[in-house]
Amino acid sequence: MISEPPMAEQTLDQLQRAAFSYFLQAANPANGLIADTTRDNSPSSIGVVGFALSAYPVAVERGWMTRADAVQRSLATLRFFRDSDQSGSPDATGYKGFYYHFLDMQTGIRVWRSELSMVDTAMLLAGALTAASYFDAETDEEIELRGIVDTLYRRIDWSWTLGGKATIRLGWKPECGFLNYGWDGYNEAIVLYVLALGSPTHTIAGDSFEAWTATYQWENLYGHDFLYAGPLFIHQFSHAWIDFRGIQDRFMREKRCDYFENSRRATEVQREYARRNPHGFAGYDEACWGVTACDGPSHQQPELADEPRRLFGYAARGVPYGPDDGTLSGWAAMASLPFAPEIVLGTARAMLDRYPENLSDLQYASSFNPSLSRADRRAWVSAGLFGLDQGIVVLMIENYRSQLIWRLMRNSHPIRTGLRRAGFRGGWLR
């Protein structure tokens, strides 16, 4: 007897398509910029634009968008970045090939005094490289598209981001120079290092990656050996583009693991944490988890002003040490789908059934919090939608279904070069 899968292929398809529709809802077709969120006056986030560029090929393959439309949208985006003000002045768009984190949706200039973001530029570029790999036709437009991606990549001065240190600085502002972030330990930056190491023009030394991995912590937690990082998204974001199955850097060779398997174990750790539920939050169990960086309830919200619990607002929530205020992200559970489908499909189904309010029109909210029930007993839900959440859902469901993004990026020369220079060997890199 064949048992029913916990989530039908059709449902998965609907969820993925709904997530993709964000990039149509929240786009400025004139310059290709995508809003960070659907909230009023949201600027564009360059990381979200990277997800959009990666999502268009998915939409073409799935028949949700014509190739011509996808090329037009991608070209509009890439031309905007190519022609943008790179002077690094406080109201420019970028500097040294990098871009400010948040840009005005219409003018494309820096807003919110945001930082020049290395990791968000890397996500933007990963999206651009996905487009360059997918749009491989010898048409004028697709040739132009590939040419612009090459230009954008070549002009990024990765070596400048070291700022005289061993590892990449993650932010810079014209007002104060490099930001003094605490950026130790494993995080979502592998794709950043790989792109920096793959650069034909301004690369960094391979030992910079080693210097970063020297801050890793390999831990046995809840019975699982894994490369520790608390928030779930850290175990997902670089994996949206890079297929880490079977390829190993020095660290993973030593640990007889790979980053893909590691993300699988991180998924198990999330589940174990939710099962233990040390703070006794409502809703947490083996089939309901997803502790990650996300929006969340805060005392600034009028309806929560008198809430006695501690609330963290937008925060990088993590396990097992928090911060944790009972806020979960359905999208984060779903984004672990390629690593552990047998766990994630059941979880996604259960979360959908128990907290349908977490989705509107099948699009995941940034988060929900069942410990903060409203009068109608429905969980508190983050208002609007966040682009990063939609993007990771589109890409990870696709990687589960067809490995499309992974296949495209396996053929990307910068990715292959960067991985090799970071010390990755084996598997498909052979």
């Binding site: 005094r113 502002k173 007002e175 104060c176 930001l179 003094n180 972030y181 605490g182 130790d184 330990g185 020297a214 801050t215 890793y216 912590q217 390999w218 831990e219 046995n220 937690l221 809840y222 019975g223 050996d225 520790y228 608390g230 030593e254 640990k255 233990r276 040390p278 501690r310 097992p320 040490y321 928090g322 911060p323």
Partner: protein, 509 residues
């Protein structure tokens, strides 16, 4: 030279205060006539100096001990002892506020009588000062001199006009708080560990500059007493040398206590307006000004090396690293040794104690004991406490050692759950592929007590596997260590071994 910091409210004289003074620097003390020659002259009667003087005298040596201020040094008078006394009260207050959580009624409004807190602290300090009182030293045969010591040659020094000759000497002059060079700070007045325990009134608003151990401990204590407390430090994390998860948990605990945490923030200017101290803060490109009643600095310590005329004795030193010593604690003058904060990077009382014992053995008994052989734990007494021993993962990686960490969150420990003290973890680092303990970090309500078991294991060469065989009383929070050892043992159960065991058991059916 900076002007003297005058932010001192002199506490009223009390019985305990008199006893304390009588023990640590009696009024009208007269220095003894110097002996013809001392086996050991010890400069500085803090932890290292007292340990050395008692140890050498007990072994029959003729010892001179010279102190310019108070016996007991920073630890007893303005450091570990007074801070732990007030931390105890602050923990009590925090527990009372959470009484409801444990099913107990909160007795109305919880108020802290700050002067009573400080009075209790002084009583404790007086009591503990008995152990190293001047009377005990004298009865142990130590010649105690109060005054400024100054070397006059390689085998002589002067104190209060008298010349002391020595065969061997030990410099244990300790350290003092470093003053951050912030314009206006000195003029506005500020607190350090040297005068914070003289406060007569609780500051209504307190800014703590520096996220080091002392700053973190006192910020939390004063916040719990009711000071509106801000802590600002230039690093992006608290305790930047500690595990980042420890910093995360601490940051969480601070937020629970209502402390405003400003990381990655520098204080750049201080001025006084209308009786308020206004401090300008800068975080990257974000500038702000806070108004407070007191400023406490805890931005590090500098060794006391000035005024000793070390040049005359041929002892090399510098103003940041202190007195230069080799692994045997010998200075560049083979007759002179050093111990404690004056020469060591790790400025802890227990390190001062251990280094003094090494210095005495090496100086008087031709010992060859090495400082580097010591396993030195330490603890920051916040709530929860953060304790560490041995290597950090980063240090192990730098030495090319592959590390595996066994982590037990305190929420997996039954007693911690029962106690409602689940914030924290035990992390034990072992060399990959072995059970050799390289180091450990514990964050727990009583981490300082728990770390001792790991230190014992490391010193005795006991591996994590053996710790699994040690029966721990149930239920205790220390069981977390056994759980980590059990986790290690489970990883030894490879599929091959598992298969063998199953085969063996099948044969028994």
């Amino acid at each position: 030279m900076l002007p003297r910091n005058d932010f001192v409210s002199v506490a009223p004289s009390e019985t305990s205060e008199r006893e304390w003074r009588e023990n640590v620097h009696p009024d009208g003390w007269r220095n003894p006539a110097p002996a013809a020659r001392y086996h050991l002259a010890v400069i500085g009667a803090g932890t290292a100096g007292l340990v050395a003087a008692h140890a050498a005298a007990a072994l029959g040596a003729k010892v001179a001990l010279i102190e310019r201020h108070l016996l007991g040094g920073d630890c007893l008078n303005v450091g570990c002892v007074p801070s732990k006394a007030i931390i105890r009260t602050s923990r009590l207050v925090a527990e009372m506020r959470h009484a409801k959580h444990y099913g107990a009624q909160i007795p109305g409004d919880i108020r802290v009588d700050f002067s009573e807190v400080m009075q209790r602290m002084r009583g404790i300090r007086a009591r503990i000062s008995r152990a190293d009182s001047v009377r005990r030293l004298v009865s142990a045969g130590v010649d105690v001199f109060f005054g400024e010591a100054r070397f006059t040659g390689t085998q002589t020094l002067t104190v209060d006009g008298a010349t002391l000759r020595f065969k061997k000497a030990m410099v244990a002059t300790g350290s003092r708080p470093d003053t951050p060079s912030i314009p206006g700070l000195v003029e506005a007045g500020y607190l350090t560990n040297e005068n914070v325990f003289d406060l007569a009134e609780l500051p209504r608003r307190l800014l703590v500059i520096g996220g080091g151990p002392l700053g973190c401990e006192l910020a939390q204590a004063f916040s719990r007493f009711g000071s509106k407390t801000i802590i600002a430090q230039s690093w992006p994390l608290f305790l930047p040398l500690e595990e980042r998860d420890a910093a995360q948990i601490l940051s969480d605990a601070f937020a629970r206590d209502g402390i405003e945490v400003r990381l990655n923030t520098r204080a750049v200017n201080v001025r006084v307006e209308g009786g308020h101290k206004l401090v300008d803060l800068v975080s990257d490109d974000y500038k702000s000004t806070v108004a407070v009643d007191a400023i406490l600095t805890g931005t590090g310590r500098v060794p006391n090396v000035d005024g000793l005329n070390l040049e005359a004795a041929g002892v090399d030193y510098d103003h940041t690293g202190g007195i230069r010593v080799d692994d045997f604690l010998q200075t560049t003058n083979p007759r002179i040794y050093a111990a404690g904060d004056a020469c060591l990077e790790d400025k802890f009382t227990h390190t001062a104690d251990a280094s003094a014992r090494i210095a005495v053995r090496n100086a008087l008994f031709l010992g060859r004991q090495r400082l580097s052989a010591l396993t030195i734990p330490w603890c920051t007494y916040t709530d929860p406490e953060i304790a560490h021993v041995g290597l950090y993962v980063r240090q192990a990686h730098e030495k090319g050692i592959s590390v595996k960490t066994f982590t037990i969150p305190m929420h997996d420990v039954d007693r911690a759950i029962a106690d409602g003290e689940e914030a924290g973890f035990v992390k034990i680092h072992v060399k990959e592929g072995s059970d050799r303990i390289l180091g450990a970090t514990i964050v727990a309500r009583h981490a300082g007590e728990m770390i001792n078991e790991i230190t014992l294991a490391m010193v005795a060469g006991i591996g994590l596997r053996t710790l699994a065989d040690v029966i721990h009383t149930y239920p205790t929070q220390g069981e977390a260590i056994k759980k980590a050892a059990d986790a290690y043992n489970r990883t030894r159960l490879t599929p091959f071994r598992n298969g063998l065991l199953r085969k063996w058991l099948r044969g028994w059916v």
